[in-house]
């Protein structure tokens, strides 16, 4: 029997299409880019199917290929859109702190049980929106760190920044994301009395 006998490309789209698409959407947040990368993944898999070792499952193998494509996409984006001035400015949000470095207006109490928020689709939609509102470099750094779970060394290579810069970028991303959620979710739901 041929080595690739346990692969079944004609079934791939039905079996793994949605899974790979969701995996890509979580990281890219753009339907057409995600669709393209899923398609490229299947094509690359088809071409390289003789190299499938069978040590991993078909789906793990496909996700591995997709991950590479996503990293390449981030690499490419980082080259096309170098750091913006704002990405590294020392103070993430000029209104957060006074001149002595104390909170101008501190974070508000989010109340309730925010740990369960991941079950609320509306909150997740808001989170995605807030993430999409960051500058591309901030959003990509946050995505690589918190969604992909990459370590900072790897992220520095992909985004082509120094480690010191990356710490600033991640700090800014987290602070802006937190502020966005507070404004668009927690303050609103407090207003609703829920």
């Amino acid at each position: 029997m041929a080595k690739s006998a346990n692969l079944d490309p004609s079934e791939w789209v039905d079996r793994y299409g949605d899974y790979l698409f969701r995996f890509a959407m979580l990281r890219l947040r753009d339907r057409s880019t995600a669709e393209d990368l899923v398609q490229e993944t299947f094509l690359a898999a088809l071409k390289g199917r003789s190299s499938f070792s069978g040590n991993s499952s078909e789906s793990t193998w496909l996700v591995g290929i997709l991950k590479h494509k996503i990293m390449d996409h981030f690499r490419h984006q980082a080259r096309e859109a170098p750091l913006e001035d704002g990405d590294l400015r020392e103070q993430p949000d000029p209104s957060s702190f006074d001149r002595s470095g104390h909170w101008a207006s501190g974070p508000t109490d989010w109340g309730g049980n925010p740990a369960d928020l991941y079950r609320e689709k509306k909150f997740l939609d808001q989170l995605t929106k807030c993430l999409a509102g960051l500058s591309p470099n901030l959003a990509n750094a946050f995505t690589l760190r918190e969604i992909e779970g990459a370590d900072t060394g790897e992220i520095c290579k992909v985004l082509n920044v120094t480690e010191t810069n990356l710490w600033v970028i991640l700090h800014r991303a987290r602070m802006q994301l937190r502020g966005c959620l507070e404004t668009h979710w927690f303050k609103k739901s407090a207003g609703k009395g829920s």
């Binding site: 979580l26 094509l43 928020l117």
Partner: protein, 84 residues
């Protein structure tokens, strides 16, 4: 003495690397007396935890966040697989 501005940067850094001992102690002392920075840290960790669970849900349980692959995309991908 660390300012709140310094501490927010260090709190974020601490999520990505282990801080040198001096800074770590400075941050912990600050958090004892600063309600806002302590709250800030809690919220950053909550965001991290929420994102982690979101990823888990989307990748294992079958997601709810986005519409699945559209029929057009599905057809396009199938076609491209046949041609090559």
């Amino acid at each position: 003495m660390l300012s709140c501005k310094d501490v927010t940067q260090l709190l974020s850094e601490a999520m990505d690397r282990s801080l040198p001992l001096g800074k770590r102690i400075g941050v912990r002392l600050h958090l004892l007396i600063c309600k806002f920075c302590a709250r800030y840290e809690r919220q950053l960790l909550q965001i991290r935890e929420t994102v982690r669970r979101l990823v888990e849900t989307e990748e294992t349980a079958g997601g709810t966040l986005w519409e699945p692959l559209s029929e057009e995309a599905r057809a396009r991908i199938r076609k491209s697989l046949r041609i090559s």
